[in-house]
């Protein structure tokens, strides 16, 4: 099992020195996914003030490091294409930390790019996988259906009405944040509670606004040692804690549909950082669906099982609330190209740097970014601090 003494010894040894999106996000039909990777990578390196030639570690998911590195003209000495869906780019931070501590690389570039909205090419699935054999034949295909099955179990255990109200609270509060972010898909589109409740069903119990967007977007992160971070353009945002793991692949194998692997990664990342939940100023929690946020907050230990609805009641997570959550507008209202996790980190870094304009939090020194991948399968949690 993870060895906390060793992990504490590397806490703070690396820092995020650059973050960026691709030039455009949202609907970008004239650019392919690899171009979005490359744009975001170039922009993140510019944000860090580091030349592309200095990148020696390449991390990505969805594409091979072969494709991304060749496209960008990088020859990496450390490569990581671990793909666990939306959490991939968060867990890459753990991998980068180990690699930099070990000496395998000095400058790690994590890139993402997906044309979720404008895709011309979809890969065929592997018919040998459990999902293809034991779920797809029943029409259990894609995230909305899988997650709605989990959400209904939560409703059954903890009450339908209060769960519904909590889902509405997340949808509305997240939209309010998006209305303060010019890059958000729904920047110009407010949403009331009535509009939420009156919206069409996608897969009951999910209304349309319970479900994340499908957009085109890219993002990238540059990481280097804490020492080297001091001499970069904006200095570093230190990585104090980071953890990952998963406990199932297909939904019907999930041990408890109301508990994610965040039950391990949340405590592990916080302990590695020497912090508790109360120390955090910002939580960036992957919101593939409104339900994902509720199950995740409980799994991470912000509140107990079944307590998520009370925790997020009364727009506590909205602008001005005392638990700022997903201040970029989230996957629900900002952008969600398919594997959104990297954007939780991009926003956390920008909030910690004080770069987020009208949505900037007054106090933001410590933040958590948390990714979920697959069908509530994998999680990655990272704790970040302003230097």
């Amino acid at each position: 099992m993870p060895v906390m003494d060793k992990l504490k010894a590397i806490s703070g040894s690396i820092a995020i020195v650059g973050v960026a999106e691709s030039d455009n996000i949202g609907r970008v039909p004239d650019k392919g996914p690899m171009e979005l990777h490359a744009e975001a990578g170039r922009n993140a390196l510019a944000d860090a003030g580091i030349d592309k030639s200095e990148v020696d570690g390449v991390f990505t998911a969805g594409y091979s490091t072969y494709d991304i590195a060749e496209y960008m003209g990088i020859t990496p000495h450390f490569t990581d294409s671990t793909s666990v869906g939306g959490s991939s780019f968060v867990i890459h931070i753990a991998h980068a930390m180990a690699a930099i501590a070990a000496g395998y690389c000095e400058v790690a570039l994590i890139t993402h790019g997906e044309s979720g909205r404008s895709n011309r090419a979809r890969a065929a699935g592997n018919p040998g996988l459990a999902g293809a054999q034991y779920e797809a034949p029943y029409g259990i295909m894609g995230a909305p259906i899988g997650y709605s099955l989990a959400a209904n179990r939560y409703m059954h255990q903890y009450g339908e009405d209060r769960t519904r109200e909590a889902m509405a609270n997340i949808a509305v509060s997240t939209r309010k944040w998006a209305n303060m972010n010019e890059k958000a898909y729904f920047y110009d589109t407010p949403m009331t509670f009535d509009e939420y409740h009156d919206s069409r069903w996608v897969s009951w119990p999910f209304h349309l606004p319970d479900c994340c967007l499908v957009t085109d977007a890219g993002a990238a992160i540059v990481i280097t040692s804490a020492e080297r971070a001091k001499s970069t353009k904006k200095g570093g945002v230190n990585v104090l804690g980071v953890a990952e793991g998963h406990d199932h692949s297909v939904l019907h194998q999930m041990p408890d549909l109301t508990r994610t692997w965040g039950r391990h990664t949340g405590p592990q990342a916080l302990e590695m950082a020497g912090l508790t939940h109360d120390d955090l100023d910002l939580a960036m929690i992957y919101d593939s669906f409104t339900y994902t946020v509720i199950a995740t907050l409980e799994s991470l230990g912000f509140c107990g099982p079944g307590e998520g609805p009370d925790f997020v009641a009364n727009q506590r997570t909205a602008p001005g609330g005392d638990f700022p959550l997903n201040t970029n507008g989230g996957g629900l209202s900002y952008t969600h190209p398919g594997m959104y996790g990297i954007f939780t980190v991009v926003e956390a870094v920008r909030q910690l740097r004080g770069e987020t304009g009208q949505r900037q939090l007054d106090t933001c020194k410590l933040a958590m970014a948390h990714g979920t991948g697959g069908t509530l399968s994998s999680t990655g949690t990272v704790i970040l601090a302003r230097d």
């Binding site: 171009e35 490359a38 170039r42 592309k52 003209g73 011309r120």
Partner: protein
Amino acid sequence: MADGYNKPIPIPQPESDNYWEGAKTGELRLRKCDDCNQAYFYPRNICPDCGNNNTSWIVASGNAKIHTFAIVHRPPHPGFMDDIPYVPAIVELEEGPRMATQIVNVEADPSKISIDMAVKVVFESITDEISLPKFEPA
């Protein structure tokens, strides 16, 4: 689609639309970085060398020399069953970049083809949208 054409057919992508449109009209189009003043292959909006977006399209002369070739006797794909032996190659274009292609209009015999041999581009129309740039002895 040409009747019976059952080999892999490129599907143009945002960054390669112009490349394939050019091929259809008999032009071999390359991306060039105006900062590095250097042409490159395959088409990318961002220069793989300097990373800048200051790139444009140029039309290549179509003159090249063979960098290497092989002679395939066991087809890797059923579509090439009637073509064997065929001659896949990497050629070095006059403008600098290398590209993959086939050498055509030559006997598929190692004694009839040589590395560094001069070749020039020809276009083979395979569908209404796609013509493949191939090369023949100059």
